[in-house]
């Protein structure tokens, strides 16, 4: 499969990372119970890198990144020697198992959603009638209506308030995210990563952006920066063993450039 094909995938067309992975599985025509995780991970990362996640909703962008991390983790776990119990590709402890379950659940739901949409389109034209006024039916009675129910009124206020405060906070969040996105631009993070790694020679991702000292958007920008730096061949990412975290080092060329610019400043 040509890399070009994956570079052209527009991430905006996918509802979730699972949607994208399922698409990759389909175009590769592979068995979902035996996913070639190395290929899929590489393809997934190619798609991610060729798309600007900044245009996505922050929530969705972070889900795509979490999935990238998940795929890389599964990939490294696959390298561990494990005992084959039988020919079933999903034997116990297969690191792909959870992903496969989530893909199946997602696909099933997507099928069902399509069925629902069909049903809706078949039925959407049928109309109920409004309740008749007794007077119009020639019935001469005084309608004894239910009086207003103060409890139902209170409950309605409660629901309205809850819903509006949700809208309020989600809109507030959007504003804050917009501002934050400015603050943690990927470009700035790329500079920061290079400078900090240069100072320490090598660093772990978790050292660069420790969970205790950085916000989620900051870590996402940082992760994007790392992906971009790998793509530009400015850093080397190593894993000492399959289970360990990513260790980041600078390429020789990058180091030389920094040394040059530092000596220029002096």
């Amino acid at each position: 499969m040509a890399t070009q094909q994956f570079l052209e995938i527009n991430i905006n067309n996918y509802q979730s990372p699972l949607d994208l992975i399922y698409h990759l599985i389909e175009i590769n025509d592979i068995d979902i119970y035996n996913i070639p995780i190395f290929d899929i991970t590489e393809q997934y990362l190619t798609v991610l890198k060729s798309n600007s996640l900044n245009e996505l909703d922050m929530e969705l962008a972070s889900e795509f990144l979490v999935m990238a991390a998940t795929l890389m983790q599964i990939k490294s776990r696959m390298l561990l020697p494990h005992q084959k119990t039988d020919d079933n590709s999903l034997e116990g402890n297969d690191p792909r198992e959870e992903l496969v379950l989530r893909l199946l659940a997602y696909k099933r739901n997507k099928f069902l959603a399509e069925e629902l949409e069909k049903e809706y389109n078949l039925n959407k034209g049928s109309k109920l009638k409004n309740t008749s006024e007794p007077h119009d039916l020639g019935i001469d009675i005084e309608i004894v209506e239910d009086k207003l129910d103060i409890n139902k009124f209170a409950k309605a206020i409660d629901q309205l308030e809850k819903r509006n405060s949700l809208r309020f906070s989600s809109q507030n969040q959007r504003i804050r995210q917009l501002l934050r996105r400015e603050k943690f631009s990927v470009k700035d993070k790329m500079k920061e990563v290079i400078q900090r790694v240069f100072e320490k020679t090598r660093m772990f991702f978790s050292e660069l952006f420790p969970v205790s000292k950085s916000t989620k958007p900051e870590r996402i920008s940082g992760f994007l920066a790392i992906l971009e730096l790998i793509r530009q061949n400015k850093i080397i990412v190593k894993q000492a063993s399959p289970f360990s975290v990513m260790m980041i080092e600078l390429e020789e060329e990058t180091k030389e450039k920094i040394l040059e610019s530092n000596s220029d400043e002096k």
Binding site: E145, A154, A156, Q159, R167
Partner: protein
């Protein structure tokens, strides 16, 4: 339209969904049939209702309009339907609309939509029909939108003497949401 029986079905569906009487003119426009054809079809429908023992409906002509109604002989059963225990009371959505009006009166339909996040025009009309809400004027804005307020009947059934007695609620409403939207627009 394929044939006469389909045309009759269409007329029945239109008159049923409309509820109120529909003019021959409107029926002509909707079905693209002539006046004579409409009148013929309606007469057939009327006869069908009359001849079928198992039909509870009848077609009435009022001047140049037609409507479906129920056969008069079943009045006693229908009278039972209109007892409160059988009629659906106000829905949650209606109570929400009532709350949106009560706390923001006088308020326009589009302001109510902003508060509820969904078009509520039908619900406002229903509340007006039931006498809980009344049109109290027009805003001095393009299109002169009507504004709505709650009625004395509303206060009476809740045992309130004025809307000031409604429990205070923070953050319900229109002011907050509108301000917020302005804020978002400025920031974007």
């Amino acid at each position: 339209m394929k044939n006469d029986s389909q045309a009759m079905a269409v007329i029945e569906a239109i008159l049923f969904a409309a509820g109120d009487p529909v003019s021959i003119n409107s029926l002509m426009k909707i079905t693209e049939l002539s006046e004579v054809e409409i009148i013929d079809l309606c007469e057939n429908l009327s006869e069908k209702y009359l001849n079928q023992q198992d039909s509870g409906l009848c077609l009435r002509r009022i001047e140049d309009k037609y409507c479906i109604t129920t056969k008069a002989e079943y009045k006693e059963y229908l009278a039972r339907l209109f007892r409160p225990e059988h009629l659906p009371g106000l829905s949650n959505a209606a109570y929400e609309t009532l709350a949106a009006i009560a706390y923001n009166q006088p308020v326009t339909k589009s302001q109510i939509e902003l508060i509820r996040g969904v078009n509520s025009d039908q619900l406002v009309n229903r509340l007006v029909d039931r006498g809980y809400v009344i049109e109290t004027g027009n805003l001095d804005l393009p299109g002169k939108p009507a504004v709505f307020s709650t009625t004395e009947k509303f206060l009476l059934e809740f045992g309130l003497s004025s809307v000031d007695e409604l429990p205070t609620i923070n953050l319900l409403m229109y002011d907050t949401i509108e301000n917020l939207q302005d804020e978002v627009n400025v920031n974007e």
